[in-house]
Symmetry: C2
């Protein structure tokens, strides 16, 4: 079988399929250079739960539950450190308006049975003394963990090679180039051009800071801030890095703009003032593969049952990696779709106007094709 | 003769000396990689005139007056575009506190006879419609021009080679390595280690923005802003670039910090809100060669008359390039020092404790030695 796309989804699918005895080839000219290279790696079913996305929330919870086992298995299989951290996520609100907005979300999340515990400002600062003194409140989601996506991809590459998968460093411009009996399209934003499915690029800009003098960041939780109406997240890594993200822009260019960097830095330093002393080591943008309902496309193409899609993960590709890989590998191995796949079928948006196969025909490809970078 | 340092000062000295018939070698492992690579290139005697620096102000005015001729000669000699622009500089004040601070400076500058014309907000926006509507006032310094320092260095390199100067791409760690009858030390921050003189690194952080879509920036003047107590300058280039600067920090590291980028972007977008849409293409830091009185060191070393110093230009290396080159070349050609050199003598801070020659002995070298980068 062939997997088109060497990001975390494609590699994890390949690893799981190889473990089930399939012969797998992964096609990607530049594996890991898509959205995962810019992703923060928050495994955050609670903090990523928004009104009106119940199907997606169920997926996030289920996949997050598989992460501890997946991370342990991958780390043991490869001997590599994934930067997997389980301190949990603190959401904090700076103003009373921010707090009102956040509290509505926490109430909704608790109604769904998700673990989220409101904390007073003093309790927040007991946990993270660097938090701004002017915070009005916050909450802890103890099960919202993190992983370093660049380390994840590096480990998955080692894992698939060890499992006998062939990595072919070349782009796929048309699925008819492939001669495999089964194909999995895990090409992120490039999926639109390959399949005609409605995957659109959603730009995100992020920063990477580094603690001065090679130190570890002075905070351990992932911090999500509601800061004067701006949203920001701060992800501390043990190697000293802090990822600050992210804009969500309906654009397909990769420019890093002054306004986005200003907004991210302002919100970040409003939440943790000491970050002004941190080094700014990277300002980048990437394109998330968005879908009309923010949920991924998992399952066969309407007209071509031999082509499975595993794409459109939008903001949730990293957390959804283990579940996606298991569902797709099981489907390929057994031919029987898991009931969880039903609401995620690529057919839910109708049959692509052009059928599959023609690059750029009827899809909404961005200028940046995940399969060819 | 030997020139140590291939920045604008060293190259211009070499060019002027070669024109007077001298045989010149310039030593620099990485010419143009020092302060000039980060400099904005404001030729701003008025806007750079501060209380208590009358000697320096006189130099700035005199050298700025030589710039039109120098730029025309260099451009004609090399056929290269220097990015020399003569639209002038607008200083603007955002709040009434900013305006009070700026007005004290304008009064002082006018008392010295410098050309500076206060303008009302409407007059400012007539000249530059992109300026923020909330500006409280400003002033025009029509004679404060600009040049692109990277283009300047590129042109000077062509000019010196055309004039027969030998460029030796190697570092000088000790002046005793050189066998020239006369030596000019134009090594920026590296001058301290070579001579023992009190040249100290003063860190500056700058940003480069770029107008979207390859356009020319929407403003033509150099803009200097007093913005809620922060100082910022915005230098628009015809190639679409806008330089935003600069911090002045008594530090010798080259880290780009989140706090500095935040402050520069905040002040810049407060003055010209449209800059939020510009691309952030570079965030850099450099080390200015500072001296105890902010004026350069020009003239012979106290104990070694065959070694001339042309260093310590602090924030003013680009504007002072033509005058420095003329004064040093004349001194070498005639043996007679111009009276203007008297207050700039390297001897004014006493004899260096160790004499010249020993790298790092008695000086205050930064980690970043302009001669070796």
């Amino acid at each position: 079988m062939a997997v088109v796309g060497g990001g975390p989804i494609g590699l994890a699918v390949a690893w799981r399929c190889a473990a089930r005895g399939m012969r797998v080839s992964v096609y990607d000219a530049t594996p890991g250079s898509g959205a995962s290279d810019v992703a923060a790696g928050m495994l955050a079913p609670v903090a990523e739960t928004y009104f009106g996305e119940r199907v997606l929330t169920g997926l996030l919870v289920e996949s997050a539950a598989r992460w501890p086992g997946f991370a342990a298995e991958l780390a043991e299989y490869t001997g590599l450190d994934l930067g997997y951290r389980t301190e949990g996520t603190l959401t904090v609100a700076l103003t009373s308006d921010d707090l009102a907005e956040a509290e509505r979300l926490w109430t909704y999340q608790r109604e769904l049975g998700l673990p989220v515990t409101p904390l007073r400002p003093a309790e927040l600062r007991d946990r993270e003394p660097l938090l701004a003194t002017r915070l009005r409140g916050g909450a802890l989601a103890p099960g919202d963990h993190q992983v370093d996506p660049r380390r994840l991809v590096a480990a998955l590459r080692v894992a698939v090679e060890r499992a006998g998968v062939t990595l072919l460093p070349r782009p796929v411009r048309d699925l008819t180039e492939l001669e495999a009996a089964a194909t999995v399209v895990a090409a992120g934003c490039g999926t639109a051009a390959l399949t005609g499915l409605p995957v659109r690029p959603v730009k995100g800009q992020i920063l990477r800071l580094r603690a001065p003098g090679g130190a570890t960041p002075g905070f351990r939780h992932v911090i999500r801030g509601h800061a004067d109406g701006r949203h920001v997240y701060l992800v501390p890594r043990t190697d000293g890095e802090v990822v600050v993200g992210a804009t969500v822009e309906e654009r397909a260019d990769l420019d890093v703009t002054a306004g986005a960097v200003l907004d991210l830095l302002r919100a970040a330093t409003d939440v943790i003032p000491e970050l002004t002393e941190y080094e700014l080591v990277e300002a980048r943008s990437g394109l998330r593969p968005g879908t009309p309902d923010n949920a991924p496309l998992l399952g066969p193409l309407p007209d071509r049952p031999e082509v499975l899609v595993a794409a459109g993960h939008f903001r949730h590709g990293i957390v959804l990696t283990p579940l996606t890989a298991d569902l797709i590998a099981d489907l390929l191995a057994t031919g029987v779709p898991d009931p969880a796949l039903a609401p995620l079928s690529p057919a839910r948006f109708g049959t692509p106007a052009t059928g599959a196969g023609g690059p750029g025909l009827g899809g909404t490809p961005g200028p940046d094709d995940g399969t060819t970078r």
